[in-house]
Amino acid sequence: MAKSPTLLTLGRAALLIAIALTFPILLASPAQAETPTKLYGVISGSAGEALSDIGISILGPGGFSAQTSTNEQGAWEVPILTKGTFSITINEDDLPEGQALTDPEKGTVKANVFMLGVDLRILFPIGPGVVQSSLLERSAQLTLDGILLGLVIALAALGLSLIFGTTGLTNFAHGEILTLAGLLTYYFSAIVGLPVLVAAPLAVLIGAVISGFLQDKYLWKPLRRRGTGLIAMLVVSIGFAIFLRYFFLFIFGGDTRQLPQYAGQAGLELGWVNITPKSILTSTVGIIFIIGATLWLLRTRMGKASRAVADNPALASASGIDVQKVIRAVWILGAALASFAGVIITVNQGVSFLMGQDMLLLIFAAVTLGGLGTANGALVGSLIIGLFVQLSTLFIPTELKYVGALIVLILILVIRPQGILGKQERIG
């Protein structure tokens, strides 16, 4: 997924604020007592050039008030004779065209004069300002981001939906399939040192074997044989997810790590949108995966059998279909698809042990929206959720974008409880 430019700017601004907050402490130089404290600073533009005639106003305890402006070298200073907290404000209107505070909310800085004679340097980080892209451009970029996110969700949701369709299992441990594949990609790429182009297919392959074949063989098949109920299996999957999540944390640690290869790949400007080559490649492969899976479902014997099992397991079994074999095939396919979703996230955004859990609710939302158990429903639902999550940031704060998607999920369930393409039977 291409990181949106606003996020990058925010990150940079946060860094500068952190520096700005530490500097007054670092640069405080002890001087003799009884001498006045000097509040001072140098205002320089984004290219490091000095900015002159920038107004600075200071308010302090006891009605203290002072005005000054920067000289040719961009420097200013104000002597202070009393202890206390002073607030220093920069006059943003004085800044030349194209220059602005990197964080618009830091136009006023507080300085605590705790000891006279200790000079305090005040920083106002100035950058090129936020370039306001037009609504159309932002919409285009967000639409692309939304489609890419929808693709990742769709890869994961297809597997979840197929497994639900054939076995009735609501698998809360599905997100951990993504995490496992991401961790494997990281292991092969960053630790073993294989190129990503080798590590990624290897991760999908091992993911399909471990998360698909082995998981079904040693966990879910024995449970089906025992006749464990569906709700009980749902709770088992929750326990399994908790176990896996903390197991991943145990071996991998809690941080998000980037693959060393292609880490800082520059984006390509294509008309209104910006996309990295690695994102183009992974998404294209993802689309091929989805088309392949759809063709498998529609054209092959096994695919048709899986739809028959989803429809009526007893009847399918009676007409000679090996139900357990079909379920095994669906598990392997679903795990491979979800593993690739994990690879896409890892290559583009890095991997953390919480990656799968973070995606799980979006996957559930997509599947529920489209109609659980229907493959095309999962695809439609994923696209809607992906687009909605990204496009909603035009109107609501970015940090609340998942909330918007979840609210839409609930609203659609009020109007159409069976989902967009679902059948009536799910209403209790």
Partner: protein, 331 residues
């Protein structure tokens, strides 16, 4: 290994604040899941609403604490209505997905910077919002015996908390043994049969959701008061899952089982954690295998496995009756 310390920590936790919080959360879930068959995975949302409702009115609006409790109960009823109207017509597994989403909405809104000024963002709220409550504390000093150890404030929270639990358990016992309670169990077993008797199933499910939610919000009150702070990330999906573990451990559809389940749950967790910590600290477990800060991860892994094994081999829990709780009546 300091076995005396392990014993003291473990026994204190068994009747401690966390046990009270999880007992209340699980009693609420018992109403939803055990008696009515509603697979509510949004219980953490009810606790979050309870906790924030105690902290926000006192800190941000300067209201007295008892008003905050009333606001908390009111808010949890509203949340139950909002949650119930779209979801109670859904089948159990869909209900699970939607309720988990709703709880996550509550948490994400609470931790967002947009509402930073009232809800405190991702740092939550820390402050003396429980001052009115602790002013009533008759204990001047804490308890420090070889087997139990609490400070004065915890002692007050524990005594009032257990009184609250006892009161709620008594109310639950009266309710589930009334005709109303039998109707709830009938809904759990066969909704259509209840409908055929002319009962409005939807309405009864809503009553169950509200009652269980308010009990969950009481757990949130205790959570917030005991720590004098509210952290949004404490109210994630894990809280709901562990409340389910507590419920299933004790055995669903039994009035006392959430309480016993919570005690056993925290006994096991703290015991395992303390033993592991001591073992790591005394080099009984090599450092390359488990580091000092990895103990809590092992603890969670064991909880996950425990939940799986419990559900596979003894879904009725310790006290539950397998006949009473056909977990699949709704699937």
């Amino acid at each position: 290994m300091d076995f005396l310390f392990i014993t003291q920590q473990t026994l204190s936790a068994t009747i401690g604040v966390n046990t009270i919080i999880f007992a209340l959360a699980a009693i609420g879930l018992n109403m939803h899941f055990g008696y009515t068959g509603l697979l509510n995975f949004g219980q953490a949302g009810f606790l979050a609403i309870g906790a924030y409702s105690v902290a926000v009115p006192v800190i941000s609006f300067g209201l007295p604490l008892w008003v905050a409790f009333l606001i908390g109960i009111f808010n949890s009823i509203i949340f139950a209505l909002i949650l119930g109207i779209p979801t109670l017509r859904l089948r159990a597994d869909y209900l699970a997905i939607v309720t988990i989403a709703a709880a996550e909405i509550v948490r994400q809104i609470a931790r967002s910077a947009t509402f930073n000024s009232t809800l405190g963002g991702s740092d939550g709220i820390t402050g003396k919002f429980g001052a009115d409550f602790f002013a009533l504390n008759p204990f001047k000093s804490g308890l420090n015996t070889p087997i139990l150890r609490f400070n004065a404030n915890d002692l007050w929270v524990i005594i009032t908390g257990w009184l609250l639990v006892a009161l709620i358990v008594f109310i639950m016992w009266v309710m589930v043994n009334s005709p109303w309670g039998r109707l709830m169990r009938a809904i759990r077993e066969d909704e259509d049969a209840v409908r055929s008797l002319g009962k409005n199933v939807y309405l009864y499910k809503m009553q169950s959701l509200i009652i269980g939610g308010v009990i969950g919000a009481c757990g949130g009150f205790v959570y917030a008061l005991s720590r004098q702070s509210v952290q949004p990330d404490n109210y994630g999906t894990a809280l709901t899952f562990f409340a389910y573990t507590v419920l299933i451990l004790g055995g669903a559809a039994r009035v006392f089982s959430p309480v016993v389940g919570a005690m056993i749950f925290w006994f096991l967790i703290v015991f395992i954690e303390q033993v592991l910590r001591q073992a790591v600290a005394n080099d009984l477990i090599p450092d390359w295998l488990i580091g000092a800060n990895q103990v809590s991860q092992i603890r969670f892994m064991l909880m996950g496995i425990g939940l799986m094994l419990l559900m596979i081999f003894r879904p009725q829990g310790i006290f539950g009756d397998k006949k009473e709780l056909a977990l699949d009546a709704k699937a």
